[in-house]
Symmetry: C2
Subunit: 198 residues, 2 copies
C-alpha cells in the first residue's frame, strides 16, 4: 500500500526551492500521492534557540550554501539568482499555500513563489508581489487572499506550524511518510522509496 | 585534465564514515586521483563559535541524524551501531592518517577506524584501540605510532587543520577539487564530476 509523501516547505528556505520544483513530477513518476504542507520555519528555529537563519548565524556555512545552490540549480536545470534579501518574510504566501493546500493550482502557486524569490529576486514579503503571482498563475488574487486571511484561513498555517513542532521538524524542506521524517532536498528519493515500501 | 579529489575527514564525524567507506572505489571508478586529508574538526567548529558537535548543540537535529545514519548505512550496505559515546576523541588516529597520508595502507586504516567507531562501538579515543587497529590491518603499530607522534609527525595534522581553516572548511566530510569545495557525503558525486570536468 503506497503512502503519501507530505512535503513540508517554507518559502524563505533555499533548499525547499529545489524540492518544490521537482516534487510533483517525482511523486507522479513514482506513483506516490503528494500532500503540500506549508509552514513557517521561524518558530521552528526559535524552538531550537535560533533567531535567524542558521546560514546567517554561521556565515562560513552560509557562503558555501549559496555556491551549493548555484551548483544544484544548474544540475536540475533551474534558474537561480541570489536574492538581494535573505531570508524574506513569507507570511502571506505561506497562508495562501496552507489555506488552499488542496486546490488544483497549489503546486503552480508554490513553484511560482519560489521562482519569484530565488530566480527573479522579487520581494515575496510584499503582499502586492504575492497578489501579482496569484494573478500570474490565472487565479483571482482578491478571492484567494481573502479566503487565506480570514481567522479560519490564518488558523490553517498556525496549526501547521504547531504540528511541525510537535512532529519534530527542525528544518525545511522535510518530508513525512507514514510517520517517518526525511530532511532536505537530498532525501526526496529516500522518502519516495519509503512511501512505495510502506 | 582530471584533477584529484582531496577528501577531508575527521574520525568523529558520522557522515565522514559514509564517504570513507566508498571514496576510494568511487574515485577509482571515475578515474580520479584521491588525496586523503585527515584533519581535526574541533578547531574548525571552535572558529564558528561552537564548542561541541552541532548534533549535540541542536538535539532535535541530532536525533534525526542518527536515524538518517541508520538509513544511509542500510542504503550503502554498511554496518552501523550508534556509538555509546559521541563525539569520540580522534587525535592519535588523525595524526596517523595525516602523517602516513601517502602510505599504501592509509585507506584500509581510515576505513578500519571508522568501522571501529560506528559499527563496532570501539573507543577510538583509546590509544590502545588505535594501536590494535593498526596491527589488524597488518602494519607495525609501534613503528607507525612512533612516526606519527614525533614533533614532525604531529606537525602534519596541525598544519592540515590550519589549512582547513584557511581554505574555509566548516564541516566534514568535505571534498576540495581544483580549489572548489563540496561539503557532505551527498556531494561526493558532484566533486567527482567537477574533477573530471576540470
Amino acid at each position: 500500500m503506497v503512502k503519501p509523501v507530505e512535503f513540508w516547505f517554507e518559502f524563505a528556505s533555499t533548499y525547499s526551492y529545489l524540492s518544490a520544483a521537482r516534487v510533483e513530477d517525482a511523486c507522479a513518476e513514482a506513483g506516490v500521492p503528494l500532500v503540500w504542507r506549508s509552514f513557517l520555519l521561524g518558530p521552528v528555529f526559535g524552538a531550537q534557540g535560533m533567531n535567524d537563519s542558521p546560514f546567517n548565524m554561521y556565515p562560513v556555512k552560509g557562503a558555501y550554501m549559496w555556491t551549493d545552490m548555484e551548483r544544484c540549480c544548474a544540475d536540475l536545470g533551474l534558474s537561480f539568482v541570489k536574492p538581494s534579501s535573505f531570508p524574506r518574510g513569507s507570511l502571506l504566501a505561506a497562508r495562501i499555500a496552507a489555506a488552499h493546500g488542496d486546490a488544483p493550482w497549489v503546486g503552480a502557486f508554490v513553484r511560482a513563489v519560489y521562482h519569484a524569490n530565488f530566480a527573479d529576486d522579487r520581494d515575496i514579503a510584499d503582499d502586492a508581489v504575492v497578489a501579482a503571482i496569484v494573478d500570474e498563475i490565472g487565479q483571482d488574487s482578491a478571492a484567494v487572499i481573502a479566503a487565506a486571511t480570514t481567522p479560519e484561513g490564518k488558523a490553517v498555517l498556525r496549526g501547521a506550524t504547531e504540528e511541525a513542532l510537535e512532529r519534530g521538524l527542525f528544518g525545511a524542506p522535510s518530508f513525512i511518510v507514514d510517520g517517518a521524517m526525511f530532511w532536505g532536498n537530498d532525501r526526496l528519493e529516500q522518502a519516495l522509496a519509503h512511501a512505495r515500501a510502506a
